[in-house]
């Protein structure tokens, strides 16, 4: 059982970090970013190039991934999303734009990096063993880094000026604007930050699970589920959703092991029932 819980916590840490970026963009712009998974993949490939092929230190690669994605996010916001949001009658229309961007990134990544699954050398070797528990050190390190990033993000949102501005924007965009918050600028910052988080977690995980050009879509969908469980547009919800989905997978797969084929069916139906009971997830803001 210790193993199952450790697996769940490890998965939860990475899921929470994935969900954070998605929920941030959603909270600030009401954009459901279908391209989140593709940004994750791009981050993974940047680390693959810099750390895997160019043999530079992992930290450098991670910074490169974060920087690349932040720039990409800013560009996307400035030249695509901002325009469409301004001109469309219903803000859901950005979903089509986001899907278009997702396909475009998919195609570009496939052309540039090829169709194969890629991986890099381990960042640390060795396995931690204690009683029944087996955890490779690199997983522990990655989970630790993920949690550190999450904590840093929360601290930034709580105590810095941009953080406060973005929280105000997420609560009420118009009110924030009236109070003198430059919402256009912070929309850009938020989008860049969200994309950066996606790239960061993609870059972290390439050391464990590798990366391939086709996984962007599935990652996005998984991130949607976490956000949905925890509640959309709320930082706490994304983190809770990530950990819950991680635990659900880990515990669910073990407990439902004897049911075999239907494990995932049960997990998904449970999710639907949960949402029917709590229509805004655990702690989300209502949105309709």
């Amino acid at each position: 059982m210790e193993q199952v819980i450790a697996n769940g916590l490890y998965l939860g840490a990475q899921y929470a970090l994935i969900a954070l970026g998605l929920t941030l963009i959603f909270a600030l712009m009401n954009v459901l970013n279908f391209a989140h998974g593709q940004m994750y993949v791009l981050g993974g490939f940047v680390v693959y190039e810099v750390y895997g092929l160019m043999k530079l230190p992992f930290v450098v690669a991670l910074i490169a991934a974060a920087a690349t994605l932040a720039v990409l996010g800013a560009v996307l916001e400035r030249f695509l999303f901002r325009t469409v949001i301004r001109r469309s009658e219903r803000e859901e229309s950005t979903m089509l734009l986001a899907a278009g961007v997702a396909y475009f990134l998919d195609a570009a990544i496939l052309l540039i990096f090829g169709e194969k699954q890629r991986g890099v050398r381990k960042i640390v070797n060795g396995v931690f063993m204690w009683d029944n528990l087996i955890l490779p050190w690199d997983r522990i390190l990655v989970a630790g880094l993920a949690i550190a990033f999450i904590v840093a993000f929360i601290l930034m949102m709580q105590y810095t000026k941009p953080g406060r501005a973005m929280r105000a924007m997420a609560q009420d965009r118009t009110a924030a604007q009236l109070m003198g918050v430059p919402v256009a600028f912070y929309g850009l910052v938020g989008f860049a930050l969200g994309a950066m988080l996606a790239g960061l977690v993609g870059g972290l995980l390439v050391t464990i699970t590798g990366v391939n050009s086709g996984i962007g879509g599935p990652i996005s969908i998984k991130a949607f589920m976490m956000v949905m469980i925890g509640g959309a547009g709320v930082v706490g919800g994304a983190i809770a959703g990530g950990f819950i989905l991680g635990m659900l997978e880990s515990v669910g797969l073990t407990v439902l092991h004897s049911y075999g084929d239907v494990t995932y069916l049960v997990i998904f139906i449970a999710m639907m029932i949960f949402l029917a009971i709590r229509p805004n997830g655990l702690m989300g803001k209502p949105w309709g």
Partner: protein, 327 residues
Amino acid sequence: MTNSRRAGSVAAVAVFLAAVFVAIPLAIAATGRTDLYYTLSSVALLAIASGGVWLTFYIGRINIGQGAWALVGGYASAVLVTTYGWSFWLSLPVAGLFCALMSMLVGLPILRLRGVYFSMVTLVLTEVARLTALALPITNGARGITSIPTPGAIRLFGVTLVPGFETFANRNAPFYFLSAAMMTLCFAGLWRLVHSRLGRLFAAMRQNEELASSMGVNVPLLRVVAYAISSFLGGIGGAIFVAIAQSIYPSSFTINDSVNFMLNCFLGGLGFVFGPMLGTLVLYFGWDLLFQTGQYQLLIYSGVMILLMLVLPNGLLSLRWPSRGRP
């Protein structure tokens, strides 16, 4: 409605019918591009399912779960035809009704959700449908249902109304006419619905459910009705598709399809009943037209999609109606 507008509408309908049932078949016969029959049948069927999604948009719900109902409808028809020996023609409406019934059961709890929560839960629903099809014995699990016979003849009092599809030299032609006719019927129905009292209630619900409720509208019932109609359309589209492919697998309609149905509505324009039809035509046909661009296909396709969104963020049909907005 003024007389001139009425005349305009009649003319538009006439042009549409002539294009679909006369001009396109003639053009195909002239050019010999019989492969277009299949592509256009697909467009028609996917447009029917997208039309359903559009209706859920109309009551203010973003539905990313239509793939589930297309799959359910496809399986319902396939099982009725292969296991119980029904005629395809009978199985088609039954498949649609089965979807409508099932969607009422599912819809009652999930339609309470709004916005992104409803979208997500319908997305999960697509996956639930796929996994259910994999798990159930009646759907033959992972091995799918194959070698489904083509639709037979319809005879009434000894008169053959529709000949069996196997008698045609090109099987795709009758499927095209069937799909196009169904599409015409479904969108005529949708148009009628939107302009009826019920349609106005739906629109009121999209604006503000609480307000509509306080004015005596039975919101939960109407939501379920709209969702049932939507799923009925999904089921019909799926069932005809299965008849063309003569096979169905749990992966015949997936999350990708659900997302595409939604995108078709966006692209066509949410404010227009016929938006899904145009959106499907452009999105599905566009991919086919680009097939000779080889490895750059997806890049060009998505690039065009982004450009269209930048130029026409309210959908293709918004091009000529900048201010009128509503259908």
